[in-house]
């Protein structure tokens, strides 16, 4: 009798995945302890030092308003990481709950959820965020909420199909036959077994959210100056670029690119090949996946 042993394996990160994880951990640590690394005030302007070169105590020099670049970069790391964290946490929580409810209860609920998700696919996150900012006023909160809403269908679609497959497995059916409640089965068995998938998607979507939030902030509709944020810094560094001082835009943009790539690589390694498509900036044509 030939039976293939279904092994339960944790994904291997490999050298690239490990490097990506290291970059992410380093960024989080820097964002957490960052402001302690420099005595400079990120919001203190000193126009005498506008576009000033690096000097002792100001390792990266100054921006166009004479603010310490290192201090702004480190403070900006906080908003740049916290924003996507909220987007991901909200969209994952809502997407997972909706998906599992639809998969478990099936019937008309599943049909309704699927139809609603289909409509939501039509709203590109960035445009939605800008629309929300235009209506309710710019700010990080509205951008985060809008993006979270836009990401939900992508998460929900993937989790729903995985939950459907999981639900058909004998171990779940054995629990149903035992008379265990649906919520207990979902919370204790279904969700934990979907966690690897959800974690991988969360990692990938963190990267996407970072780019999308940076874009929104770049256009002045997200984080509001003078608060430091990498998207804001890329925008405010523009005039410096034209005058031959690209440091601010380059540093902020480079940080974004580095982290987005790191999240993408790590998410890819964790995802085992199953991943939701990248939420688009334009309405999607037809169905996805």
């Amino acid at each position: 009798m030939t039976t293939t042993l279904a092994t339960y394996r944790t994904p291997r990160l490999g050298p690239l995945g490990t490097a990506a994880a290291t970059v992410i951990v380093a960024a989080v640590v820097l964002a957490a302890i960052g402001p302690a690394l420099t005595s400079a005030d990120p919001n203190a302007s000193d126009f005498a030092h506008a576009y000033g070169a690096p000097e002792p105590g100001h390792a990266l020099g100054y921006d166009g308003q004479g603010r310490d670049l290192l201090a702004r970069l480190l403070t900006g790391a906080r908003t740049s990481l916290l924003g996507p964290l909220w987007v991901v946490a909200l969209s994952m929580a809502v997407g997972t709950v909706v998906a599992i409810a639809a998969a478990w209860l099936g019937g008309w609920l599943d049909s309704v959820v699927s139809a609603v998700l289909e409509v939501m696919f039509a709203f590109p996150g960035v445009l939605l965020a800008m629309l929300v900012a235009a209506v309710f006023g710019p700010g990080l909160t509205s951008a985060v909420l809008a993006l979270a809403v836009a990401y939900v269908p992508y998460i929900a679609r993937l989790v729903r199909s995985a939950a459907l497959a999981e639900r058909r497995k004998p171990y779940v059916q054995a629990l149903e036959v035992q008379g265990a409640g649906a919520v207990a089965i979902c919370v204790r068995h279904l969700v934990p077994n979907l966690m690897p998938l959800i974690t991988a998607q969360a990692t990938l979507f963190f990267g996407y959210a970072m780019v999308d939030l940076a874009i929104v902030s770049f256009f002045g509709l997200g984080v509001q100056p003078p608060d430091a944020d990498w998207g804001v810094m890329v925008a405010s560094g523009q005039s410096g670029v034209l005058q031959g001082y690209p440091a601010e835009s380059l540093l902020a943009g480079g940080s974004i690119v580095l982290l987005v790539v790191a999240f993408n690589v790590l998410g890819e390694r964790l995802s085992d090949g199953r991943r939701a498509p990248r939420p688009g900036w334009f309405p999607r044509r037809g169905g996805v996946s």
Binding site: M1, K169, G179
Partner: protein, 267 residues
Amino acid sequence: MTEAILQVEGLRKTFGESVAVADVSFSLRPGGALAVVGESGSGKTTVARMIVGLERPTSGRITACGHDRSELPRSARERRRRGGEVQIVFQDPYSSLDPRQSPAAAIDEVLRLHTPLDQAKRRRRVAELAELVGLDERQLAALPARLSGGQRQRVAIARALAAEPRILILDESVAPLDVSIQAQVLNVLADVRERTGIAYLFISHDLAVVRQVADDVVVMRHGSIVERGPAAQVLDEPRHPYTRLLRASVPGPGWRPARRTISKETR
């Protein structure tokens, strides 16, 4: 004749146009062992799934332990009661267990659901059930990935027995096991029946296994029962041509695959 512990009357299930089960009736006496025999597509597994409530019958009546279970349970309490009446062990030992849960935790979860026992008593009960099916301490604590198919199937049996059901359905549960392991599990099942007076409904295609474990047999084909009777009688003196064909198809001493049949399948 004692009252049946499981009674199935006029059971029917259709999936769209196709009829999976057409008018099936049988009964199982307390402590009895009935085998539903058939090949793939005979509808035998659909019958099992309807009895445990994983499929809803299109029509017909299922009564277990005196309670009707043709309709969905109306309360959490009724759902649990049904769980304590009929349990099932599935065919595939590899997906029958939550990959993140040790056998001890899986059995304990069922005990918490069905019994008022405290933690210490549950632990003792887990040990008893493990002993009943022949699992040791180390296997009880291991994750399913570290257990063999036979060990996992024992866990599935112990987990089903934890609800102290009066009826246990075994849906091809020993089919994927190695011969030497299959014999161990079949003996365990015989011991459990002797000790607890549980009734078995075996869903199987394997006539030799059926002979070993069942008192009575119903033979299904294309959703209907074609023959029924005591196991020895049906297997030794099959009357329906299909039962004869099944019997003649089992390789054994002196068996020669008869002749090259030209397949008349239309597909």
